[in-house]
Symmetry: C2
Subunit: 410 residues, 2 copies
């Protein structure tokens, strides 16, 4: 009952963004990192007040220069601004790259009259090339910051994304806003997942970091587009406390709705990224229940949405039960075919069970095909071994994906 009540009190603001919470302004500008003159390529986001900050970073050991600087600037747990660019990832750029990332922070600090140490730096785009600092550095100072600027900021970090991605959620007095970009890689780029969130809630730093970690673990970390992790991935949340109220920590009554709101927002952003996956036509949502442990459920769910066999079968609307089950069998999760059950769920609620108790069923083939027709495809696997549950999301694999990822540009 309590849970239901909480769910009801979280309001989704579909056109909300990082400037929806109190005290945040943002903007974007074209400085010429990218050739396309019409595309914003540098963005700035700032809070009126110093924020509690939390972040998670790529697990790829090849970590880009801006992330190294950001880690340093967030070591004290606070920040006030984000400076970001698209078109160049500033990754694999050596010492010059680190210097350039520091210069971006300094330029933002100078423009905003704040310490460079309070500036988060992020880059996304081509790796192995240096930023055109002669354009980036003066450009940062020319960004017009407004309360409507969250969407321009979202546009400024887009690379191969076809739409800007943003949303906000509200609970009681506080709001959390988000922008993100994905998704899929394209020559000569490795696409980056960037997600920036802002809130006017008054949040304790330790709790904020824990909450972000939990939210990212069940959202961005459960997404598979092309099984590669970028050098530049980052999720950040800035909390400026301007909504007032007592500090939210793990014992606070708002701890649960805050965690739920953050998770909801990250999950929605993750789904937006998958929907916009390059060369993808469908979102595959795999939910695993009955796993021996939560970790096993995560392994199994991720294995399903990462399987090339599953991705191609879903693209072809082929109810091939062997592929998701083989993916689970390979995942490392405890697995007993005789206890496993696989079904497809149509968004209208119709469920077709393809496999149960060790054998394929004589299912309705036409209904199974129909459940694979929508843009969102739902696979359910119950492993019959325990209480572990997890959900993962992936894109399908198409000829267009191969074409986009194999053509070279001169």
């Amino acid at each position: 009952m309590n849970e239901l009540k909480t769910r009801e009190t979280i309001e989704i603001i579909a056109d909300g963004t990082v400037t929806t919470p109190r005290g945040f302004t943002a903007g974007g500008i074209h400085v010429g990192v990218r050739d396309d003159w019409s595309k914003l390529d540098v963005g700035l986001l700032v809070s009126e007040q110093l924020c509690t900050a939390a972040a998670t970073y790529t697990r790829n050991k090849l970590m880009a220069a801006p992330l190294l600087i950001t880690q340093k600037h967030l070591a004290n747990g606070t920040a006030r601004a984000v400076v970001a660019n698209s078109g160049c990832a500033n990754a694999a750029t050596g010492d010059q790259g680190v210097t350039n990332a520091m210069t971006m922070a300094s330029a933002a600090g100078a423009a905003l009259g704040i310490s460079p140490d309070d500036v988060v730096v992020a880059s996304t785009g081509v790796i192995g090339t240096q930023l055109p600092m002669d354009r980036v550095e003066p450009g940062i100072g020319r960004v017009a910051l407004t309360q409507q600027g969250g969407i321009d900021f979202a546009v400024s970090i887009m690379t191969t994304d076809t739409v800007p991605k943003y949303m906000a959620v509200r609970h009681g007095d506080w709001t959390i806003g988000a922008v993100c970009k994905g998704v899929g890689m394209i020559h000569p780029n490795m696409a980056t997942m960037l997600c920036f969130m802002t809130t006017d809630a008054n949040v304790n730093g330790t709790f904020l970091q824990d909450a972000l970690r939990q939210a990212v673990d069940v959202s961005f970390n459960m997404v598979d587009i092309d099984s590669d992790t970028s050098t530049n991935d980052m999720a950040l949340v800035l909390a400026n406390g301007m909504a007032g109220g007592s500090e939210i920590d793990a014992a606070h009554p708002d701890a649960e709705p805050f965690q739920r709101s953050l998770t909801l927002l990250c999950t929605a952003m993750a789904r937006k990224m998958v929907h916009d996956a390059e060369g993808g036509t469908k979102l595959i949502e795999a939910t695993v229940t009955g796993a021996a442990s939560p970790g096993d459920a995560r392994l199994a769910a991720r294995a399903i949405v990462s399987s090339i066999g599953v991705k191609t079968a879903v693209y072809g609307q082929d109810p091939n039960w062997g592929r998701p089950l083989a993916a689970v069998g390979n995942s490392g999760a405890a697995f007993d075919l005789a206890k496993s059950r696989l079904s497809l769920v149509h968004p209208n609620g119709t469920e077709v069970t393809l496999f149960a108790a060790g054998s394929p069923l004589d299912y309705d083939y036409s209904a199974a095909r129909t459940s694979l027709a929508p843009q969102d495809v739902f696979l359910r696997v119950d492993l019959g071994l325990g209480d572990g549950e997890a959900t993962a999301w992936g894109s399908d694999l198409t000829e267009e994906f191969v074409r986009l990822n194999s053509v070279y540009t001169t």
Copy 2:
């Protein structure tokens, strides 16, 4: 010098097969597991004398019925025959499937006048359907066994393979022959890797199992086609000792050439499978050196050939250095970009280094493209951290692969 001499004394018999060693006969027949009447679908392989036997099996927890029976029959370390079929994997078939696998062994035992316990059973093809035992059981007794039958046996286990795969190697008095089938999965099948090897060498059982494990670890276990492991994978070696000589164990002078011969044969078979990968146009060979450990080298090499980004870039002949390095960064292997080096090697020996000491080099783009043109593409990564080395093989990823794996059959 000793190594060089050994290498020179291993003779490759390109048209050799499992009936090349003394005392082995084989054959194949069409019984109607598959609809195509012209395709052999049941095969039999037998030794005049009882053999020392060693096997490795799929690591997929979904293990097919014939493998369960084979494990039981090989528990005593000996066998005399193999009965195999294509067209039906006898996987996910419950108790009936286990009964059918036992019946295949019994029918082979009856036909050959040997104990069913000395018969290895293997199946490959569609999963989730029962074998047509009314055709399979009598068919087994009708297989004509000849000393030239090794190729028919190789044909009888083909599924989506386009060519039968076989080879033999000889050293001194003994010979090892092999047949295998792959490769890639296609609806509604999950393709299986089967490799059967025979030798007339007199080999100690424990040494044979160790030698097979070592050979498989650096060959079949380093292959990636579609990142899925079949339910039916098996590699088997039968040694009947008919070449005479003292028993080869780890301390025997022939231990080293035997290990080398087995590894050479398994590697050649693995490469044949990749060359025949469905929808693939190229073999990608990734060699990692300088890893912190041999395990790290394996992780890194496998990650490169499994990466969708690498597979599509190689297909497009795109010298995209970011993708293999990002794959290594994600592999779990210790990695320091500043110490890493990546090059492409043309089969003619020309090497183009794309990346070294933390930065992309100003390489000859045309030469790099040229090195990606041949059917066999060689990537070399040195991690600069230690002595760990490994090689892995994978296929590229093409629009045709997606088409083959997404179309459904009615």
